[in-house]
């Protein structure tokens, strides 16, 4: 089945989800990402990070596109929040900023990223706000954070 090269090659390592995306284990990501890059998926469209509240896990969804064969591919990884994920920023330069964003907002750390630091939030920000267990701080740089609008008339 040539429709999905990744599934053919790493049969035992991936599971096909019902929306057509492939779920893999984060440990295999290094080899699989290299394979994906080599097999013509040259365009990394998007990296989405998400927080699986119920399972106490974080997730990443990679959307690839092949400009030559005009095919799409979605890879998903779900893992505990302590894990370091292999960074594809050296294969796909666009992943640089996407991974920084995932780190900034979701707190996913990437192994081998050239410059993993915050991108959208200020450097002195604490916490990763897109996590479900994130709570608004009471102070930011000594300023109280207004939370209640009950003074609003």
């Amino acid at each position: 089945m040539s429709d999905n090269v990744v599934l053919d090659k790493f049969k035992d390592k991936c599971t096909l989800l019902d929306n057509g995306s492939i779920m893999i284990h984060f440990g295999d990501w290094e080899s699989i990402s290299q394979f994906i890059y080599d097999s013509g998926f040259d365009y990394l469209m998007c990296i989405t990070s998400y927080d699986l509240e119920s399972d106490d896990k974080l997730g990443l969804a990679y959307n690839f596109y092949s400009t030559l064969e005009k095919k799409y591919l979605e890879i998903r990884i779900e893992f505990d929040d302590k894990e370091e994920i292999f960074s594809v920023a050296n294969l796909y330069r666009t992943a640089d900023w996407h991974e920084r964003e995932a780190y900034d907002l979701m707190g996913i750390s990437f192994k081998g990223h050239p410059d993993l630091k915050r991108i959208l939030l200020p450097d002195d920000w604490e916490g990763h706000p897109l996590r479900k267990d994130w709570e608004e701080p009471e102070y930011y740089n000594g300023m109280p954070v207004p939370k209640d609008k009950s003074y609003w008339e």
Binding site: D56, D80, D81, K82, D133, P137, E138, Y139, N141, G142, M143, P144, V145, P146, K147, D148, K149, S150, Y151, W152, E153
Partner: protein
């Protein structure tokens, strides 16, 4: 080669001059024909024509111009649809229902819908409005809309309402007088409203914000204080389970606010953890650690509280300091209430009690009664509130009654069918009326069949066969 370069050089210059002349010719054409080509308007003297559309019952005829929001308050039935639709919460509506059995007439809308309540407050903060038009569509009576355009005979075009103060952009549409509110039996509402206005007059707008803004010296130390808390929370970092950790940390924070010591705190943690079924070996070690935790930071805990006190305005300072008991229970302790509305009510009551310098137990009692009055109290909330009491008083009688009452309410809902089932009715108007009857029935403790009969009787002329069948099936 040489000639190529030279011809390229010359061609470049010629091409350059040619395009320069083209461009200059074009700009000169515009310069010459300035009268015909001017595209701007002299704004205050001339204005853009406003595209026309009519306001009407048909959704296609809605006036689409996004300018200032306007409410025909006489038509408002207080359904709160627009308040719910607003993504930025810039609409605030209060409603008051006439008490059961009263013959107060709330009037009728221009669409002949009988109003069931009066709207003593309908405030729109246009400084927050983002002109998305989402509130206009759901209104069943079409009484909220953007003014301007073809509405001009009704309301003048109003997209120029700039103000010098932000307060000037808050528009109050409600017209109910105090007499109206009193007539309808809203003494408590009026009292609260006046108190709120009074507080606003005094400048205590910032109630409910974390307590620090007043004293300048406190501010610099505040973040440090937040950091000092960390070691206590870090104990639980050994626990791998994220959710369990979260629960534990919340319990600790809760315990701190309530002024527990470490043993009590760890008990609290343990109980919460077991309740959620997240026990693990790491967790139990962490709890043990917490029990044995005797850091210097414990000195910080009282100092925290004094700091909080300095945060209060000065006139309260003395009394607060003289009543150390109340530190265990402050406004933050109410944060455990998850429901936003309930929390708001509880906090209001708390502040009220604080002003009248009641002690903790009285405050908690007051909160419980207030929540009861609004029928927002569930058992869990009450228990937690009671646990705040310094001396473990037996719960007062009224609350016991509440328990019974609440149970009875629960039974009712079991008997009655779900209101959502009425959503299958296609006609909007009929659905509304049916739901109203349903609610009336619910209040009067009627059973399903009684309610269905009521609906069928009252709406018999409006219902088609299909709907009748549908409602009949609900028995």
């Amino acid at each position: 080669m040489g000639t190529n370069l030279l011809s390229e050089y010359v061609n470049n210059i010629i091409y350059g001059i040619r395009t320069f002349l083209t461009g200059m010719g074009l700009t000169f054409k515009h310069f010459k024909n300035k009268k015909d080509l001017v595209a701007t308007l002299q704004y205050p003297n001339e204005k853009w024509p406003i595209p026309e559309r009519n306001i009407g019952f048909n959704e296609e005829d809605y006036n689409v111009i996004r300018s200032r929001l306007h409410v025909d308050i006489d038509d408002c039935i207080g359904c709160l649809q627009c308040e719910k639709a607003c993504p930025v919460d810039c609409i605030k509506i209060d409603t008051l229902k006439p008490p059961k059995g009263s013959d107060y007439d709330c009037g009728k809308t221009s669409h002949d819908t009988q109003k069931k309540m009066i709207v003593p407050r309908f405030t729109i903060d246009m400084s927050e409005c983002m002109y998305c038009d989402l509130c206009v569509h759901p209104c069943p009576e079409e009484c909220i809309y953007m003014v301007g355009g073809p509405n001009e005979p009704k309301h003048e075009i109003d997209y120029e309402f700039s103000q010098y103060e932000r307060h000037g952009l808050i528009f109050e549409f409600a017209t109910s007088t105090e007499q109206d509110i009193l007539d309808i039996g809203g003494e408590t509402y009026l009292k609260e409203r006046n108190e709120k206005a009074e507080r606003r007059q005094k400048g205590e707008k910032l109630e409910g914000i974390v307590d620090s803004d007043a004293s300048g010296t406190g501010n610099t130390e505040e973040p440090e204080k937040a950091k000092h808390k960390d070691p206590l929370l870090e104990i639980f970092n050994i626990v791998p389970d994220k959710a369990a950790r979260g629960i534990a940390k919340k319990a600790i924070v809760f315990g701190k606010r309530s002024g527990f010591d470490f043993i009590k705190m760890s008990d609290e943690v343990e109980s919460r953890i077991t309740a959620s079924g997240k026990t693990s070996s790491e967790m139990s070690t962490a709890i043990e650690n917490l029990k044995n935790y005797k850091p210097i930071i414990s000195d910080d805990v009282p100092s925290d509280d004094t700091k909080q006190v300095t945060g209060e305005s000065e006139d309260k300072k003395g009394t607060q300091v003289s009543e150390p008991k109340s530190f265990g229970f402050n406004i933050k302790s109410l944060d455990f209430i998850t429901d936003k509305m309930v929390r708001g009510i509880a906090k209001k009551t708390f502040m009220k009690c604080k002003r009248s310098k009641l002690d903790v137990n009285a405050t908690i009692d007051a909160i419980i009664t207030d929540l009861d009055a609004n029928s927002k109290l569930d058992n869990e909330t009450k228990e937690t509130l009671l646990s705040f009491k310094t001396n473990n008083d037996t719960p007062s009688d009224p609350s016991l009654e509440e328990n019974i009452k609440e149970d009875s309410v629960k039974e009712q809902t079991d008997v009655l069918f779900d209101i959502k089932l009425l959503n299958d009715i296609e006609d909007k108007m009929t659905r509304g009326s049916a739901k109203k009857i349903y609610m009336a029935g619910k209040r009067a403790n009627k059973s399903s069949s009684e309610v269905v009969d009521d609906i069928l009787n009252e709406l018999s002329d409006k219902l088609d066969d299909k709907t009748k069948e549908l409602i009949g099936g609900l028995k």
